[in-house]
């Protein structure tokens, strides 16, 4: 029998109001619109999808940093939004987040020691100063920073080093789950390689589970076991990474895969991906029909009248498309 999931998300919905037009009715953006997913312990789920498709919102909901309008997030079977605040706080030691921005996510006025130790205030307030210092030193070593980093300030570090500090902070409570929102997007290719190697090492040595968001498919291919593709707040395709990338079933996944440049066959003119109109999820979209239809090369009449549900198309694979894999 498979292990029970570490994380399970059911029918999750989060709406944000659009800025009001002078006379129009108030409209909303459904940033996350009925998402279901599970992650087994020790696995990595990659989330891909275009800008504004709801990836970061999903991450904040899973982290219980924000309340959903509907749906549940369960961590080891416990519904996070049904917990009283103090119990949720205790629960938080089990899941931590790493953000994209290695500049903004660390408090510039705090020394690294303080930044890295902060999650312990809530998780293990009983620790002595000595024990805290030891834990910080251990974490800095685990992410490949020297011990003297503890007494320095964030601005004294490069982007990649700051991302290591953020990881040390995320790891200090020995969480089972790390939600990483574009953790390497701001990094150059060499530092990106170092940080990705580090993430993979930590999974091997500590069995960390990742919810890993990235717009870079090649990066996701390196770290993820499974992948969910988001489009306008919904998951439109889901499955094992290798299969999903080698044989995408949903036309949108296919467009994503084809947009990735292949540097090995560089021809001077540059390959030219299909331009697509971007952006997300405004409610005004007709409720009937497939949201991808206006951009879809496969669209037929039924696509405009009937919304495709996410359904199994092969063992372990699902797609929300009337004509998957054609």
């Amino acid at each position: 029998m498979p292990a029970p999931p570490l994380v399970s998300v059911e029918n999750l919905v989060r709406r944000y109001p659009l800025p009001a037009a002078p006379f129009g009715r108030r409209r909303h953006v459904a940033a996350v619109d009925g998402v279901n997913l599970t992650i087994a312990p020790g696995r990595s789920l990659g989330i891909v999808g275009e800008s504004g498709s709801g990836k970061s919102t999903l991450a904040r909901l899973v982290m219980a940093l924000e309340r959903p309008d509907a749906g549940t997030v369960r961590f080891r079977g416990t519904d996070l939004f049904a917990l009283p605040p103090d119990e949720l706080r205790r629960m938080r030691r089990g899941f931590q987040m790493v953000f994209q921005d290695p500049y903004g996510s660390l408090d510039p006025r705090q020394r690294v020691e303080r930044i890295v130790a902060e999650p312990l205030d809530v998780a293990e307030p009983q620790l002595t100063r000595r024990e805290r210092a030891d834990r910080v030193a251990e974490m800095l070593a685990a992410v490949g920073l020297s011990a003297d980093a503890a007494t320095r300030y964030p601005h004294e570090f490069s982007g990649g080093q700051r991302q290591r500090i953020a990881l040390a902070r995320a790891l200090i409570t020995a969480p089972d789950l790390i939600v990483a929102d574009e953790p390497v997007s701001a990094l150059d290719v060499s530092v990106q390689a170092q940080v990705l190697n580090l993430l993979m090492d930590l999974q091997e040595t500590r069995g960390v589970t990742y919810l890993f968001i990235s717009h870079n498919l090649a990066v996701v291919e390196h770290v993820a076991d499974d992948v969910a593709v988001m489009y306008r707040g919904r998951i439109v395709e889901q499955g094992p990474a290798a299969e999903l990338f080698s044989a995408p079933a949903h036309p949108y996944t296919r467009a994503l895969v084809e947009a990735v440049p292949d540097l090995s066959s560089f021809d001077g003119a540059g390959s030219h991906p299909p331009a697509t109109d971007a952006d997300a999820d405004v409610e005004a979209d007709s409720e009937s029909g497939c949201p991808f239809a206006p951009r879809c090369p496969r669209a037929r009449a039924v696509c405009r009248s009937e919304r495709p549900r996410l359904r199994e198309i092969a063992p372990g694979r699902a797609a929300a498309c009337h004509f998957p894999g054609e």
């Binding site: 290719v189 060499s190 440049p261 560089f266 540059g270 971007a278 997300a280």
Partner: protein, 319 residues
């Protein structure tokens, strides 16, 4: 036709403990309707080169050399003159959108302000134009979102607002510092198309700074690989990408995650880290991290050698 001509650009930062050489003799020319790609690890001096051209360096910076825009040396221009030029003839998309956007002002007003300032547009017309620009960079519901504040947009949307702002006045030269790094591939493709059409249709000259070699490959006519404040390799994109004459260029390519990789495969990072500006060797900046480095590289500035149409500053160049 040359729009921008940068000659022996040097930037030093004065610190209490001495002068830090940040940009060390960078020269290039940029023709109308072409794109120059600038690549290199963080800390290699790309942004400082860009800020020097914009004359937006920190107070503590000393600049020398020449930066000629249509023949006018910007290093000789006073601040009043630079204010006229910036945003109008030469514009920049900054690496960190949240620091460049004002969190307290609606994005429509922020874009319109540039147009009112440089184009003498009335506010109403400027807002209409702002909506058109937002639409152009792929922001849906552009009209409604004119009244959004920056925090109400996703990271990628904020980045596109920045691009819309920089394009507002159709500058002759646009410097885009990591403009697509936060964007997913499809929006990236769209922004690339947009930049490309501005270059092709309006003859804009583009300096594109990116660590994404794929984006550079698609857009740039010429490429400059920077490290330690100096140019390691320079040439047509095709020559640099196919020859990869400099060991540093080779290191950057080798670190890329390839498609079709098995999960968990380790990536080949360049060993070590970018040294601080005051810790660079006297000779080749890449000495110490370079797999081919010899004693001669440590102590002497490397010669510039042409191989396969690409010019590399290296004692032992070649694929």
């Amino acid at each position: 036709m040359t729009v921008l001509d940068v000659e022996d650009l040097r930037v030093d930062i004065r610190t209490p403990t001495g002068r830090l050489p940040i940009v060390r003799g960078v020269s290039f020319t940029l023709a109308r309707g072409t794109t120059l790609g600038l690549v290199g690890e963080s800390g290699s001096g790309k942004s400082m080169t860009a800020l020097a051209i914009m004359r937006l360096l920190p107070q503590a910076a000393d600049v020398s050399g020449a930066i000629r825009l249509h023949g006018e040396d910007l290093l000789q221009a006073d601040e009043t003159r630079m204010c006229r030029i910036r945003g109008d003839r030469i514009a920049m998309v900054f690496q960190e959108p949240m620091t460049a956007l004002n969190p307290l002002h609606r994005i429509g007003d922020q874009i319109a302000e540039t147009l009112v300032l440089h184009r003498d547009m009335a506010r109403r017309a400027a807002l209409d134009e702002a909506a058109r620009l937002l639409d152009r960079v792929g922001i849906r519901e552009a009209q409604a979102r004119l009244s959004a504040y920056p925090h109400q947009l996703s990271g990628g949307q904020r980045q596109r607002v920045m691009i819309a702002m920089a394009l507002a006045c159709r500058p002759d030269v646009l410097i885009a510092d990591e403009p697509t790094s936060a964007l997913d591939v499809t929006v990236q493709a769209q922004v690339i198309d947009l930049l490309r059409s501005l270059v092709d249709e309006f003859g804009m000259a583009l300096i594109l700074i990116s660590h994404d070699l794929g984006v550079i490959g698609r857009l740039a006519d010429r490429v400059m690989v920077m490290y330690g404040g100096a140019i390691m390799e320079q040439g047509s994109t095709k020559a640099v990408f196919t020859t990869r004459a400099h060991p540093y260029t080779q290191g950057l390519f080798a670190a890329l995650p390839g498609r079709g990789a098995r999960k968990g495969r380790r990536l080949a990072a360049i060993p070590g880290t970018v040294p601080a500006p005051d810790a660079l060797p006297a000779g080749c900046p890449f000495y110490g991290r370079c797999p081919r480095g010899q004693d001669v590289c440590r102590d002497n500035p490397p010669p510039v050698v042409e191989i396969g149409g690409s010019r590399a500053a290296c004692f032992f160049p070649g694929p």
